[in-house]
């Protein structure tokens, strides 16, 4: 893995520098971490849209976009990402590496970021009131258009139902019913809270002089800080009494089956957690998996089928696109494979292939600056600070017994079917 150096900038603000000359781009990520909150989520969603429409010195989208072009096609994107019951507001900026255009552009890039994050348009005690109506409509459409991707929609609905009453069920896009009531002044409040009470992590990856970067970041990106939010661990244990079944009809051509499970595993319990990753891989983690080889290749029941795990809340999900008439049949086969893993009916080759698949994917993380920075960030919020090599070793060390044990308390919670 490339060289990672962490700098504590005080007030729960950390700078992570990854020095490498492998890429033609320089990546700057700024992550703001908070507890997910039903009352705040739609505001955050609306806020990040609004911030990109203008700043004090670049008052319109056109001005912002022109400046990005001038900076040799600098890209930016802003997202809200869920990490368990924590919400991360991530701002990403891709600049071209100085040496490819023969001039220094890093300082200008940081200048742009400073302007965007620290100099929003504030009028009448609110953020960019002129653009709020347009952005309200955009968020409305973003939320409504979830239905366009049926597989994603089905997954979201499964989680919403499975975790009703838990913070994990909160959607990172926000809620339609909130939109009209949010005022520019509410957004100014959210903006101030975001910058002053979130845990902040700044990641920079590229080919640079370390001292220079630290100085530039320290002097240009000074966030106003107050009492930082305490972010507690999620409740990752859940005993399932009875499996819930939900069916929704929208008349699709292909049915979307989603199954949600509780893993009841604490990621700090390394042996259990890394064994779970391998167990999941054997179950449905790729073309080497039971779900792919049996439910797809052998039974021809689907084209896409896979399983994945969520680290912080202790959740596992299976998703499959099937003919609506094959619902019972497919559910039966998935359950059969699930119990095969639980009861140890898998070969040594399956274990080997699963490990190889995970380790291969992990090692590839360092070949992308996006991959590396997000991996680093994930480790930082987990409080584990492992390198890719560390994680590979832990995956390699699991065995048949630990794999079976990890699935012991994995229980089916909710079956959702969209047709």
């Amino acid at each position: 893995m490339s060289d990672l150096r962490l700098f504590d900038l005080g007030n729960e603000t950390t700078l992570g520098l990854i020095k490498t000359d492998k890429f033609k781009s320089t990546l700057i990520n700024i992550y703001f971490l908070r507890n997910i909150d039903r009352k705040e989520i739609t505001r955050l969603s609306l806020l990040i849209n609004l911030l990109s429409t203008g700043t004090s010195s670049m008052p319109t989208i056109k001005d912002v976009s022109k400046r990005l072009d001038e900076l040799y096609g600098m890209d930016m994107d802003m997202n809200l990402l869920k990490y368990g019951e924590k919400i991360c507001t991530r701002f990403r900026f891709f600049s071209v590496a100085d040496k490819y255009i023969g001039r220094e552009i890093f300082k200008d890039a940081v200048g742009f970021i400073k302007e965007l994050l620290l100099n929003p348009i504030v009028e009448d005690d609110g953020i960019n009131p002129k653009m709020i109506e347009v952005e309200r409509e955009n968020i409305r459409e973003e939320i409504r258009s979830i239905i366009n991707d049926k597989a994603m929609y089905a997954r979201i609905k499964c989680i919403e139902n499975m975790c009703e009453g838990e913070a994990y069920s909160i959607s990172s896009l926000g809620y339609l019913e909130d939109i009209d009531e949010i005022t520019p002044s509410d957004l100014l409040n959210t903006y101030e809270q975001l910058l002053s009470t979130s845990k902040i992590f700044i990641a920079v990856e590229g080919d640079f002089e370390e001292e220079q970067i630290v100085e530039t970041i320290k002097s240009e990106l000074k966030f106003p800080r107050e009492t930082i939010q305490k972010i507690p661990r999620e409740d990752f244990k859940k005993t399932v009494d009875e499996v819930r079944y939900i069916k929704e009809v929208v008349n699709t051509k292909q049915g979307k089956l989603v199954i949600g499970y509780r893993t009841n595993i604490d990621y700090f319990d390394e042996e259990k957690y890394y064994s779970l990753l391998v167990a999941n891989s054997i179950f449905g983690g790729g073309p080497h998996s039971k779900l792919f080889r049996n439910v797809r290749e052998k039974e021809s029941l689907c084209y896409s089928i896979s399983s994945d795990t969520e680290k912080y809340k202790g959740i596992m999900m299976v998703g499959a696109g099937i003919d609506p008439d094959n619902y019972e049949k497919t559910l039966g086969f998935i359950r059969k494979e699930f119990s095969n893993v639980k009861e140890g009916r898998f070969t040594d080759d399956e274990v080997k292939n699963a490990k190889k698949n995970i380790i291969n994917n992990l090692k590839m993380v360092v070949d992308s600056n996006i991959g590396e920075t997000d991996f680093t960030y994930n480790q930082y919020i987990s409080g584990t600070y492992f390198t890719v090599e560390d994680v590979c070793k832990k995956v390699e060390s699991v065995n048949r017994e630990t794999i079976i044990k990890s699935f012991e308390n994995v229980d089916e919670d909710t079956v959702y079917f969209l047709r």
């Binding site: 490498t20 000359d21 492998k22 033609k24 781009s25 319109t60 989208i61 056109k62 976009s65 022109k66 990005l68 072009d69 001038e70 040799y72 096609g73 890209d75 071209v96 590496a97 490819y100 255009i101 347009v134 409509e137 955009n138 459409e141 409504r144 258009s145 239905i147 366009n148 049926k150 939900i246 929704e248 009809v249 929208v250 699709t252 051509k253 292909q254 790729g286 073309p287 080497h288 290749e297 021809s300 029941l301 689907c302 084209y303 896409s304 696109g321 099937i322 003919d323 080759d349 292939n353 190889k356 698949n357 380790i359 291969n360 994917n361 090692k363 590839m364 360092v366 070949d367 600056n369």
Partner: protein, 433 residues
């Protein structure tokens, strides 16, 4: 291997042509953990009618190139090509397009073994009644997955609206009906014609040893070259568009659209293709980017939701511009777009806009090299057209304002434009059981 160095993008390129015709390309990427190999075949979903040398003309079922791609993974010993990749710890995949089919893998370990396997399995066809029947169920689900996807529908209909004869109007995967007609014989017929080394190219990226690469390739590359000429037949496409508008309803929240502008530069000589493409790309950015007046007006008036997407597309026998987005009234958007372009022809594009857009494109192109798969996939598909993707930046730097204004006269012609729309259902009923 022959070695060349491109100092503008700081990349080396190695090249070798094997005795049996297979071309091998290698771009070293020092310090990268993962290596990537992609084997491309000059055969796609557009190739539905062909003959070999003086032989008779063969017509095949729609979706056959894609079906063949799926079946390639079957091995004579009843195993699946994925099995060996899993054993080596490599991630494998394949895809089919209108003009090319490709088989690829990426791995951080056992690269040479995986490369040997890649070449071997693609050179080993194995189609039986049983394994062909089984695949029909899987591909039928894949087709239905796309049919449920409004992004796919709106795009697909745009091509149908522009083209009345060119096979590009037919979906890559075919239809459930057409694939059920496919037989092992038909698959062998396609394989024996197109899957020969003279018609294939291999592209490799990673931190590797070129001698080791060549040793592995020589060891695995056993196929015999086909010395007869492949004749491909694609019905002549008239200049006129097929249908001005195609509109369907689906479960979407807001109408989605794809506007297409048919173009005819695919007829240009090969040596002019790359520059034409770059000029067209730049022109697209100038007109539709967020830094332009058109997007600004439409966005602020609430006429368009989000950004425009799209670009210029060109290959052997088709070229067009695609412009997509979401809007409450897509036809009004098209009207405004056409009006704007008409006006732009009168005023001409200004130097400062051109320079700024060009700069953005230079940065964008450079950054795209950070994606190994983007580099490899593009390199291959450009090579099959007789172009070198690595020349892009050099040609881009030499483009002048005059080139752009000239191109504006012949591209984005309203006469050759179409619109495909996907609208929400009339009365959406969502029920819970």
């Amino acid at each position: 291997m022959e070695k060349s160095y491109n100092d503008i993008i700081n990349e080396h390129l190695y090249f070798d042509r094997q005795e049996n015709g297979l071309e091998v390309y290698y771009v070293p990427k020092h310090g990268f953990e993962k290596s990537y190999a992609i084997l491309g075949v000059d055969f796609g979903s557009n190739d539905l009618e062909f003959s070999l040398g003086e032989g008779k003309i063969i017509n095949v079922n729609e979706g056959i190139a894609h079906f063949l791609e799926h079946k390639m993974f079957e091995q004579p010993d009843e195993s699946n090509a994925f099995d060996k990749f899993s054993e080596f710890g490599a991630s494998a995949n394949a895809f089919t397009g209108f003009n090319m089919t490709a088989y690829l893998f990426s791995t951080t370990d056992n690269f040479y073994k995986s490369l040997d396997h890649l070449i071997s399995y693609v050179q080993t066809p194995h189609y039986t009644e049983e394994n062909v029947e089984k695949e029909k169920g899987i591909i039928a689900q894949e087709i239905k997955m796309y049919e449920d996807n409004p992004d796919w529908q709106v795009y697909s209909n745009c091509l149908k609206a522009m083209y009345s004869k060119n096979n590009i109007r037919i979906d890559v995967a075919g239809s459930v009906d057409s694939i059920y007609k496919i037989t092992p014989d038909e698959l062998y017929s396609c394989y024996n014609t197109f899957y020969n080394p003279l018609n294939m190219k291999l592209f490799i990226v990673g931190d590797l040893d070129e001698e080791e690469i060549m040793k592995t390739v020589k060891g695995a590359n056993k196929a015999k070259p086909l010395n007869e000429k492949i004749n491909r037949y694609n019905k002549a496409e008239p200049m006129e568009i097929s249908k001005k508008k195609i509109e369907v309803r689906a479960h979407v929240s807001m109408p989605m659209f794809f506007i297409g502008y048919k173009d005819f530069s695919y007829k240009l000589a090969v040596e002019n293709q790359l520059k034409n493409e770059i000029v067209s790309d730049l022109l697209f950015d100038i007109i539709f980017s967020e830094s332009g007046d058109l997007h600004f007006k439409l966005y602020n008036e609430g006429l368009i939701f989000g950004n425009f997407s799209g670009g210029y597309v060109s290959n052997k026998d088709y070229s067009h511009v695609l412009l997509s987005g979401a809007a409450k009234d897509p036809e009004k958007v098209k009207f405004e777009v056409d009006k704007y372009i008409q006006k732009l022809r009168k005023t001409g594009i200004k130097e400062d806009v051109f320079e700024r857009t060009k700069r953005g494109k230079i940065g964008g192109f450079l950054k795209s090299f950070d994606s190994v798969s983007f580099l490899a996939n593009n390199f291959l598909s450009y090579k099959f057209r007789g172009l070198n993707f690595l020349d892009y930046l050099e040609v881009l730097r030499d483009v002048e304002l005059e080139d752009i204004n000239l191109r504006l006269e012949e591209l984005f012609l309203e006469k050759y434009s179409v619109i495909s729309i996907v609208k929400p259902m009339k009365d959406e009923e969502v029920g819970f059981e």
